[in-house]
Symmetry: C2
Subunit: 438 residues, 2 copies
Amino acid sequence: MQSSMSRALRCVSRRAGVAVHTQATRRTLSFSTPSSASAVILNSTRRQYATSAPDPATLPGLDASKLKVTLNEKRSTPPPSSELKFGSTFTDHMLTVKWTSETGWGDPQIQPFGDLPMHPGAMVLHYALTAFEGMKAYGDPSGRVTLFRPDKNMERLNRSVARVTLPTFDGGELIKLIKELVKLDAHWIPTEPGHSLYVRPIMLGTQPTLYVGPTNEALLYVVCSPVGPYYKTAIKPVALLGTDKYIRAAPGGTGGYKVAVNYAPAVVPQMEAEAAGYDQNLWLFGPEYQLTEVGSMNLFLVLRTKDGATELVTPALGDLILPGVTRDSILAIARGHASGKAPIDGLPKDLVVSERKIDMAEVKQAASEGRLLEVFGAGTAAIVSPVDRIGWEGKDIMIPCGEDGAGPVTKTMLREIVGRQYGRIPSEWCVVVKEGEA
Amino acid sequence: MQSSMSRALRCVSRRAGVAVHTQATRRTLSFSTPSSASAVILNSTRRQYATSAPDPATLPGLDASKLKVTLNEKRSTPPPSSELKFGSTFTDHMLTVKWTSETGWGDPQIQPFGDLPMHPGAMVLHYALTAFEGMKAYGDPSGRVTLFRPDKNMERLNRSVARVTLPTFDGGELIKLIKELVKLDAHWIPTEPGHSLYVRPIMLGTQPTLYVGPTNEALLYVVCSPVGPYYKTAIKPVALLGTDKYIRAAPGGTGGYKVAVNYAPAVVPQMEAEAAGYDQNLWLFGPEYQLTEVGSMNLFLVLRTKDGATELVTPALGDLILPGVTRDSILAIARGHASGKAPIDGLPKDLVVSERKIDMAEVKQAASEGRLLEVFGAGTAAIVSPVDRIGWEGKDIMIPCGEDGAGPVTKTMLREIVGRQYGRIPSEWCVVVKEGEA
């Protein structure tokens, strides 16, 4: 495909508006940055290009005060909560904001949910220039609505979009807009225990060209989908298939970003794991079969160390690991407990928290010595998902889950995270969208 | 995200129509199959699922005889050929065909080019379930129109779509449909030397769900874009930046398939290469800095061996290398020459053809000994693209390109491929869409 310096210069100088937002983006990089820190480099590359471009400060940034609302006159009735299927029901409204490299961010629109007109040559369709977030709004019977650490989602989305040449934006403005959307469709939030409104911000590169390069047009939008609890009744442990035939991520790739390209390649491995009698892939990497993630969740293990302490282990961030919000929250709670500053009932007194490499040889040895106490996945959808079995080398490594379906650390983390999500446990992480009626 | 065996079984049994086409797909796998051969495994997984499903033979396959044509009443005037910009002008018509797991392939439609209605939850937007092809239709002033090895594109598209859970199809039927589309818009094909009509078949997973799994709905479509020659005037060699900070592909990944997920991650590295004064990335892999591809082209090198022969080297197929149609054609021409069965004027008599690993240490050594004769990229857009410089470890490795901008093997291959594309050199590779007027 065609490529030349002049073409690149033209593209980038046209879209120099990006530079307006680089400072905000760079600030966020202190949060869980993969070692490659490619967002920093991208921004520095952009600044380099931008020296010959018009002043980027003249292009408008994302501005929630410019919101225009068009109400849906054909509102739907939310289905009964018992009939919800993950991600297939959408609320009455959606938020859309257009961006071009010539004009910057346009006026945000809340409008009736409906089809997007899509040029058949839009870059997102051909080259997957797209990144997204997964977050939830939580409701209770009083009508109170909360979000959980939305700033973390905004930070990560800014990192992700930059990795695929999409424009960055002011995360605080997008949170304001999401609050407006959630308030408008608040009656769609199921209030049964464990239910919530899944909120999906996403940005697409929409320039209509078959040329492979940075996009000059983008669409940011947010849709909402009411969802039931991950576990309909009791917690049910899942079985993982140790997977080394396929990879989820590799050094120099995009595994540390929430971009669409990480997902399509994972569906066939998931189908194969299910055909083999397992629920999810345990993604292994390299000649030492390093453990990385579980399906589309971060991975945690609880080990008894050789000197008798209890170690909570999760793989360190980097190109192989998505910086998950639930992951970060679990680590913060565990470290607060371990340091003695914020002790948590149910966590072991001698807890040690480690972000480090762990490979299958260590897991096998710990299991054979009775030191593999718990394994769980962590993510926005399931919160925590206990594991009772890992298929590896034709055998199953068994993990005790007890009568409750989850070990004590797993169960405690579930309780502590859920409590903060709904605001029952006070924390700075809970952001109120709307107060309930007394 | 949610996942369970029962959900997967339901998904796959619903879309058992796929199995109708597996035989055709499997037959094609003898062409340039990456070692992982995951398409075979996917089909076998599908058959495994399908045992409990209704007879897939009852679902309709892709059928060109069911084509419906709606003419565009607002036709555009093709722009002057001198003003064409790669991939940004589209012809008056496009081909679309819908598929669902319940109903199989629908009736193909040729219709006025225009926006596609896209559900905001369509899987392609969130998880990049999409694969495509790049091919060209060639015209001459008599009105004759040809395609080049379209069967190869169909084989590869069938492999690519299966890798991202999209339905396979009868490639012969799609070629018939593409011929109809190209005939209808034949006046859009620029006939100046080196010009052509770029034809882009693409398939999207369109099921509206935020669930990560195989799609139950898909859209196959084809758009056409008139394009100028890659080199506007004389051949101009390009400079490559040896790139090890980012990867294009990795073992266990999708580098051997033409899927959208390979492209988005490559744009930032391309911008960085351009900012450093190079044209394209030379994608290196692993601790030995193995050479893999050039930008989005396959890579060829011409070396003088230590015993004085001339070796044409390209990296062997596998997870790191896309099985390119131009790559395959160059190898076939070179092997025909080397075997003495089809000697080519301009190729060295002592030519040896190798598909093998080659790393930067070997390239550096060959260059320092004056044995690195030529380097070129090969792909549908540029055909061949000579390289005169490789940036590596802060220095430039220079490659002689002579006064013509390309060495003898590069120039000869360009002539031989172009001759077959337009049918001036008779071959089975040239497929006539429409005869010219005498």
